[in-house]
Every structure is written in C-alpha cells, then in structure tokens.
C-alpha cells in the first residue's frame, strides 16, 4: 500500500499534466469546425499508426504458424502437381501408343478412367516437417526432422525445401524423429535432367563447396549453358521436375563424350527451417519387383 502511494506520488504530476493537456486539446478541438476536423484527422492517423504497429507485432508472432500453414499448402500443391504431371504423362503415352483410329476410339473411353484413378490415388503423398538440426560441413551431412513413423514418415521419402528444391532423402526414422541424408553427402546420388530437354545426368557432391553439386555423364550433345535449370527426372525418390539448381559452368571430359557440370543448388541448406517430405507410394512395389526371382534369373544368365 505504501509503495502504491509512493508510486502515485511520483507520477501524479505527469498524470495531471497529461490530463490537463488532453482536456485543453479536447476543448480546442471543439472550438471550430476546422480544428475539430483537423484534430480528428490527426487523431485517426495516430490511432491508425498505433493499430498498425500492434498489428505488425501480432503478425510477427503469427509468422511461425503462417509459415507452417504455407508449407502445408505448398506440400498439398506439390502433391496435386505431381498427380497431374503423372496423369499428363499417362495421357501422352496412351495417345502415342494408339496409332489407329479404332484403337483411339477404344482408348477414348478408357483414358478418362485411367486419368481419374491417377488423380484420385496420386503416386506421391506429402507431409511437412521442421528441421531440428543439420550439418553442411562434413563429408556426409544429415538433417534431423521433427516427424517420425507415427506421423507417417518412412525411409527413402524425398526431402524438398519449401521452395520446391531437392534437399535429401530420409535414411532412418524413429517414432517421433527422422534423419535425412543431405544432397551434400558423398553417398548421395540422384538423376537430374537439363530443363526443357531430354538429356540426363547423375547428380552427386564432390565435398568441395556446400552451395554446389556436380552433374556427371551429361551427353556432349546437350547444351549446358550457364544459368540453365537442372531438375530431377527418373528418380525413385523424387518426383519429376523438382528443382536442383542452375548451371554455373560445364567441362567436357577427357574422352570428349560427356560433360561434368557444376550446379549451384537452389535450396539454401544452411538456413533450412521447414521441409516437405514426399513419399513415392509405388516405391515398395518397385523394390519388391527389383528383388524378385525373375530379375535374379536374368542376372545369373
């Protein structure tokens, strides 16, 4: 109580000043229409600026949630995009394999069903995760993600950044967490394609620069001009068309048959906070097919 009285005593002059000043301004504002209009406009400006500042603070604290929502939305869009791309490819293959008029007529009834099946049951499933920790300076680099098997994470799920660029793939998961092998790892391999062409190469990291990877075995007929985009194609883990990066420079090998291209990574791996996980639902089927006896029979012969 004593402290309260002391506090009031220490500020009563300030309060009195503010009160008298406010009353005087209020009285002055009512004196003429001009003063009323101008002061009202100024007061609105001040109040508006205050509300704006408060809204800015509120927005700042909502950013984390908005970021997560946006990432989930991006993941859903990625899923839909992959489904439509698969459907588009299927449609192209059906029409390409149907040279006669009769078979076109037959396929015309089957095509919408096939497309609908792909769209209703897409090949890729996505979910989002936050990056708990990561490394970029070791020969083998990893990301620890805050999603595990209970969230639906599986081994060999592709990991891509919020902007849709490759980051790595899941190599191990527990109930609540998972570990992804970074694209910046000497054991990481995937298949890349020169955007807008059919020329493919193998993507790997030479351990030199955490911002660039190499693309080897690119045909000498490709035109790897600096700035051209490289995207995934024909990978078991990654959907087609996921950005890898842009060409920095290219060098023809000693044999003169293939290029080795330096590619600047699109994803900024050192500052990743959230990622999208992509599951290829056909992967188990592909694995079991590859391990089947019939394949072993061909290998033996």
């Amino acid at each position: 109580m004593y402290k309260l009285i002391e506090f009031i005593r220490s500020i009563y002059v300030v309060v009195l000043f503010i009160a008298i000043e406010a009353i005087a301004i209020g009285h002055y504002a009512r004196s003429t229409h001009y003063a009323r209009a101008r002061l009202l406009a100024k007061a609105t400006q001040v109040v508006g600026a205050g509300h704006d500042a408060l809204a800015g603070i509120r927005r700042y604290f909502r950013l984390e949630r908005e970021n997560r929502d946006l990432l989930e939305y991006t993941a859903r869009l990625q899923e839909r995009l992959s489904a439509y791309e698969t459907a588009d490819k299927t449609l192209f293959e059906i029409t390409a394999e149907a040279p006669t008029t009769d078979s076109l007529a037959t396929d015309a009834t089957e095509t919408p069903d096939a497309i609908q099946r792909i769209l209703n049951d897409p090949q890729y499933r996505t979910l989002t995760a936050a990056v708990i920790s990561s490394t970029i300076s070791k020969p083998e680099n990893f990301f620890v993600l805050n999603r595990g098997t209970r969230d639906g994470v599986k081994r060999e799920m592709a990991v891509i950044s919020a902007s849709g660029a490759i980051v790595g793939y899941v190599v191990h998961c527990t109930k609540g967490y998972s570990i992804a092998l970074s694209v910046l790892s000497s054991s990481f391999r995937t298949s890349g394609m020169l955007s807008g062409s059919t020329y493919r190469g193998s993507i790997y990291w030479d351990g030199a620069d955490p911002h660039t990877v190499l693309m080897g075995d690119l045909s000498k007929y490709a035109d790897p001009q600096p700035g051209r985009e490289i995207e995934t194609n024909g990978s078991l883990f990654f959907p087609d068309g996921v950005k890898i990066g842009r060409i920095l420079d290219a060098q023809l090998d000693e044999t003169g048959t293939t290029y080795t291209v330096r590619v600047e990574l699109d994803a900024r791996l050192s500052g990743l906070s959230h990622v999208i996980l992509v599951e290829n639902r056909d992967l188990d089927e592909i694995h079991s097919l590859m391990q089947s006896d019939s394949i072993g029979h061909y290998i033996q012969h």
Partner: protein
C-alpha cells in the same frame, strides 16, 4: 508567501502588455511576440513541479480567456511549465538547480540564461503555431512564424527579465 506581490504584478503586467499591445500590433503575421511566458519562466527555481503546472495552467487559461483562443495557450504553455525543471537542469548544469533564486542572467550567466529562454520559447511557439495551423500544407510559413516570433519573444522576455530582476536584485543572489 514571499515574492507573491512581485509575481502577481509580473503576471498582470505581461498579460496587459500582451493583450493591449502585442496582440494589436499588425506589423506582420510572422511577428507575434509572446511576453506572457515571463511569469512561468521567471518563477523561482525551488518552485514545486505541481506549482509550476498550476502557474502554467493559470497563465494559459488567462490568455485564452482574454485572447479568445479556446485552450490554445494552455496547450502550449503547460508543456513549458511541465518541462521547465528538466530544461533548467540541462541548461544550468548544476547538480541541484532547486536551490532557490530566480532564473536570471545573474544566476545562470548570460549565455545559459539566453539558451534557457530560447529552448522554452521555441517549445512554446512550436506547439502554439503548429496547433494554430493544424496543417503541414504551409509548413514553411509556419516555421518562419515560429522562428521570427521566437526571436522577438526571446528579446522581449530578456528585457522583461532584466526589468523584473532589477527590482529584486537583493534577493537574487
């Protein structure tokens, strides 16, 4: 209360000069000296903060009443009264400016007293003319009014202070 009569005389004299002389001068719209601030500015250094606020309120109200300005003088005089202790502390540069005496050239020195007058007058005129204009459209004119009127006010306040302290020479030191 000691010095009550001299201060009441100062208030009455400055208000009368302001109302009957300066407010009737039509030299220029940029020339509007305000001498009535002398009462607030020349109150003794040991005047309490509350008493300063009351003095500012009374002076402002009296001027609003006589000039018909509906609160404009209170709006501009009250901040001067409220901030006066801090302005004096900044200008006077002593550990305890509340040791008594009248703010004057004899007590502060010419330079410091001049700075004290300039800061207080500029603060007052800035608020007064800004609220009077209530617009940034003719900002350069408002600024010119502030500068010229402040200069003239400081001159007249300096003279007023000299006249006032001449009468109280024995009590200043």
């Amino acid at each position: 209360m000691y010095r009550t009569f001299p201060y009441l005389t100062l208030l009455a004299a400055t208000v009368l000069v302001q109302v009957y002389l300066f407010d009737n001068l039509s030299i220029s719209i940029y020339f509007a000296p305000m001498i009535y601030l002398a009462y607030v500015l020349l109150l003794p250094l040991d005047t309490s903060h509350f008493a300063l606020l009351v003095a500012g309120l009374c002076t402002g109200w009296l001027m609003d009443y006589t000039m018909g300005t509906d609160g404009l003088n209170i709006i501009s005089t009250l901040p001067v009264a409220f901030l006066r202790p801090w302005i004096i502390a900044a200008v006077y540069n002593r550990e305890d400016p509340h040791e008594g005496g009248i703010p004057s050239t004899a007590r502060f020195g010419r330079a410091k007293f001049f700075r004290y007058l300039v800061v207080c007058v500029l603060l007052h005129h800035l608020i007064f003319f800004s609220f009077e204009a209530l617009s940034w459209v003719h900002l350069h004119r408002t600024l010119l009014r502030i500068v010229i009127s402040s200069a003239s006010s400081v001159c007249f306040l300096w003279i007023t202070a000299r006249l006032f302290t001449l009468k109280l020479t024995t009590r200043i030191g």
